[in-house]
């Protein structure tokens, strides 16, 4: 059995007990990536020198003062390629950032580095995190480790697969409409989208600033809680980050669900759920009820408008956020352009893929004078209504549970021709982004051999409750430690 199959707390104990070193653990992770990743495509780039140097430093720290070394010291992790890493190329999966080496690191990277984590490299994603399948990466396709003919889910597909295939102990992704929870569900790992403002966005290449959050993907709920505890908290570099207690993520983890009120949104079960997904969900409800949770139906009536509002607001912000990608300061630029207009057109035509261009155009349109009120302003009003739906529901229940997605992983190419079908993949996840609340996807079972996740939504700053429910289910479902076929190494 590989060391990377162990939960973080166990690995940390063994590192402290000198059963093996962080360098040995890192070498095993690098060897697994070298052997397994060509078939998976999770990593855009692996950084062995940086990893081994960090591992050696972690070993010194563990040797010198094992009792005070942080729990994440020496633990191999990897970052979605929308997260800036100083000195390491960061492309956001886009050609327009090909060759961009940030001179600074995201706050989350700095925080984890300070704790002694080992950075293995950068993970594939849909271009600028726009997509639900990882098929929009301009570099490579990330395949689902349970079935290589199927997608990994997106946009943090590389982040989910690296954990699922045990190439890294935990990874960071970003979630704008479901981009952590969806691939977590498709790949059979835990993925947490924190409350908006929980985690600093400084250094996260923006997709939609008012919706983006960085969060962890990990094998277990506790691992995800450990990583979120490390990266959460107010950051002076991000004015939208909030100061709030974080001790409950781990402190309440094992409090169980006895007496906890769980809401099941009627509208979420009416979106054309795949029968296998419905079956896993119903089983999860029974499990949680068996553990003492009290379930009840709740209503989120604005759900049917959420998708439309999201696809106005997110593209509007995209059209502005991506304006800095003008070929002047980074990217391949505009060789041979003779006028300024040519230069912009060349840089952006060659640099952006079809889905990114589609959203830039949609957003530009929605913000244009004469259309602003009908689209952007109206979508913001819907957003308020969506948030009010959740406020009403959370007045009655402690958390809301649903499937993470209507289906399990779909086939590569199945939805690429139909953008609206692809957008609908996020129908159960994106309302949480509009409302800015917390949500976690936890492996709940299998449908036709493919993993299916349970989504647990908590109120604003309600991560602790999500983790608590997730931890209870994880203990009963007994699926977290099942290895996907493509995670089995020959060596």
């Amino acid at each position: 059995m590989s060391l990377l199959e162990e939960p973080i707390r166990e690995l940390s104990r063994r590192l402290r007990d000198r059963e093996f070193s962080a360098v040995e653990l890192t070498q095993e992770a690098l060897a697994r990536a070298e052997e397994l990743d060509p078939a998976l495509g999770a990593f855009l780039r692996v950084t062995p020198e940086l990893a081994l140097a960090a591992a050696a430093a972690a070993d010194r720290r563990l040797r010198e003062d094992p009792s005070s070394a942080p729990i994440l010291c020496g633990i191999p992790v990897a970052y979605k390629d929308v997260i800036c890493t100083k000195g390491v190329e960061t492309t956001a999966g886009s050609q327009i950032l090909h060759g961009f080496v940030p001179p600074y690191s995201a706050t989350v990277v700095d925080r984890l580095s300070a704790l002694g984590v080992v950075p293995l490299g950068k993970l594939n994603c849909d271009e600028f995190a726009m997509g639900s399948s990882n098929e929009n990466s301009s570099y490579q396709l990330t395949r689902n480790p349970w079935d290589p003919e199927r997608v990994a889910g997106g946009s943090s597909g590389g982040s989910a697969v690296a954990v699922a295939a045990r190439l890294a102990c935990a990874t960071l992704g970003s979630d704008t409409g479901g981009s952590i929870r969806l691939p977590a569900s498709f790949s059979g790992v835990v993925g947490a989208k924190p409350t908006y403002g929980r985690v600093s966005r400084y250094g996260l290449i923006a997709f939609a600033s008012s919706l983006d959050q960085i969060g962890p993907l990990a094998k277990t709920v506790e691992d995800a809680a450990l990583v979120l505890t490390a990266i959460a908290g107010q950051d002076p570099h991000d004015s939208t980050s909030v100061m709030a207690p974080i001790d409950g993520f781990l402190g309440e983890l094992r409090n169980g669900v006895k007496g906890l009120r769980l809401g099941i949104p009627r509208e979420y079960l009416e979106v054309g759920l795949d029968p296998g997904v419905r079956e896993v969900f119903e089983q999860s409800v029974k499990t949680l009820e068996g553990l003492g949770a009290v379930t009840q139906e709740v209503s989120l009536p604005t759900t049917e408008y959420a998708l439309a509002a999201y696809y106005v607001i997110a593209p509007a912000e995209v059209s502005s956020n991506l304006a800095r990608m003008d070929g002047v300061r980074f990217g391949p630029g505009f060789p041979g352009a003779t006028t300024l207009k040519d230069a912009y057109e060349q840089a952006r035509h060659n640099g952006f893929g079809a889905e990114v261009r589609r959203r830039v155009i949609l957003g530009t349109y929605a913000l244009s004078s004469g259309y602003y009120d009908a689209y952007y302003l109206r979508a913001q009003k819907v957003r308020t209504l969506v948030a009010q739906d959740f406020d009403r529901a959370f007045a009655e229940v402690d958390a809301i549970i649903s499937p993470t997605a209507p289906t399990a992983a779909f086939k590569v190419g199945e939805r690429t021709a139909d953008p609206l079908a692809m957008y609908a993949t996020d129908i159960l996840t994106l309302p949480a982004n509009l409302a800015g609340i917390s949500g976690v996807s936890v492996p709940a079972g299998f449908a036709n051999g493919l993993p299916v996740g349970l989504q647990i939504l908590g109120p604003y700053l309600g991560e602790a409750t999500c983790f608590r429910v997730g931890q209870s289910l994880e203990g009963e479902a007994a699926v977290w430690n099942r290895l996907p076929p493509l995670a089995v190494a020959a060596k």
Binding site: V82, I83, C84, T90, A92, L97, F100, P102, P103, Y104, A106, R201, Y202, G203, L204, I205, A206, A208, S209, S210, P236, H237, D238, S239, T240, A316, E317, S319, S320, L322, A323, R324, M325, D326, V328, R329, F330, L340, Y344, T364, L367, S368, S369, Y372, Y376
Partner: protein, 489 residues
Amino acid sequence: MSQLADSPWEAVIGLEVHAQLLTKSKMFCSCRADYLGLPPNSNTCPVCLGLPGALPVINEEGIRLTLRTALALNCEIPEFTKFDRKNYFYPDLPKGYQISQYDLPLSLNGWLEFELEGHVVRGGITRVHLEEDTGTLHHAGEIQNSAFSLVDLNRAGVPLMEIVGEPDLRSAAEARAYLAALRQLLIYIGVNDGNMDEGSLRCDANISLRPVGADALGVKVEIKNMNSFRSVLRALEYELGRQREVLDEGGKLSQETRGWSELEQRTVSQRSKEEAQEYRYFPEPDLPPLLISRAQVEEVRSGLPELPAARRERFQRHYGLADDQALLVTARPADSEYFEAVVALGVTPQLAANWQLGELQGLCNSASLPIEECRVSPAALADLLKMVQSQEVTGKVAKEVLATAFETGESAAEMVRSQGLGQVSDVEEISAMVDQALARNAKAAADYQAGNDRALQSLVGAVMGMSKGRAKAGIVQQLLRERLPRPGD
């Protein structure tokens, strides 16, 4: 108004003034706001370079200085304000949008009073809002056919306040006077250095004509690229003449943006209404809205210094200065502080004003030095002027030693004492010089006694010459008259 003399047209002018704020750091990052003279692109960071992933953080001092300006301009301060993104592509704008304020600015509905030809004029202020400056471009030759342009982002993100004036100004001269009063105010309250040459203060104008007495506005033309008071005056005068000519000939004006060409001394069309930019404003999602508490407003208000008009009025009333002297001595805060320091040390206000505005300002002008940076401190000037007041030194000698002190930084009063330049009022000493002068100038003495008054002055001059200007003129005259009695004396 000469461009519109004998015409049925009235000028309607409103100014948009951009002023860089005197904060330590840029508006949304910690780079220096004072970027002048630094190597290109050295005063930058991920935030002001617009690197992917970087986020803005509001500089509170920028907010405070804008509130200060708004209150000095009698504006209302709403409790809720926010930043917006103004989207457009240009290489000096690294993010592809400027963080600005659109529908909910920091302040609105104020006014500025200024004087023109003895009348007080009130110009309305539509709004004062806050945004960030762009970088600068350096073209290889003329912009139209340059092979390349270099981008310098040292200036990108410097806090820039926009002061939008109502279309209340009725002539180019009024516009110039409004701008001068606004500039003076900004310097007084310490928010801007008033430097139009280096672009820390910039001015655009909206200008149109309408029939005298009409309420409706005519077709508006925006004038850009006016980099001095002189060019504001010239550009607006030119534009009024141009618009009048078009209208007098029965033509129609088109709404457009025109640039002032210093070289050709005319405005040139830059962009028509059809080509107008679509800025796609929307709320800046990276910055939460701001709530401006009433306590904060009152704190800023109570910190406001005396404003130029109030100070001018006080100087007239309290020090008894004439209008024009009060105007000059309060031109800049440093001028009035210098004056008050001299007066506080016991110099009469009139003498202090005369010497500061006359001798010392003259020396400063020829050395291109502001008064506060010259080597004669208020205390040093006061020492010297007190000797003038007590007639220990003549005005002539005082001017000479002041000029030396200005060059060398020595104490003028000390020079008078150590070099024996003090005024001579000893009658015996002067009497001896008078005797000598009469002996050498017998003809003048005779002329005077024959009735030529002017001859006495030349004799006085001779004595003064002998005393190197130190003899007290009254005693010299009295002694000469005693020696040269005339019939009828």
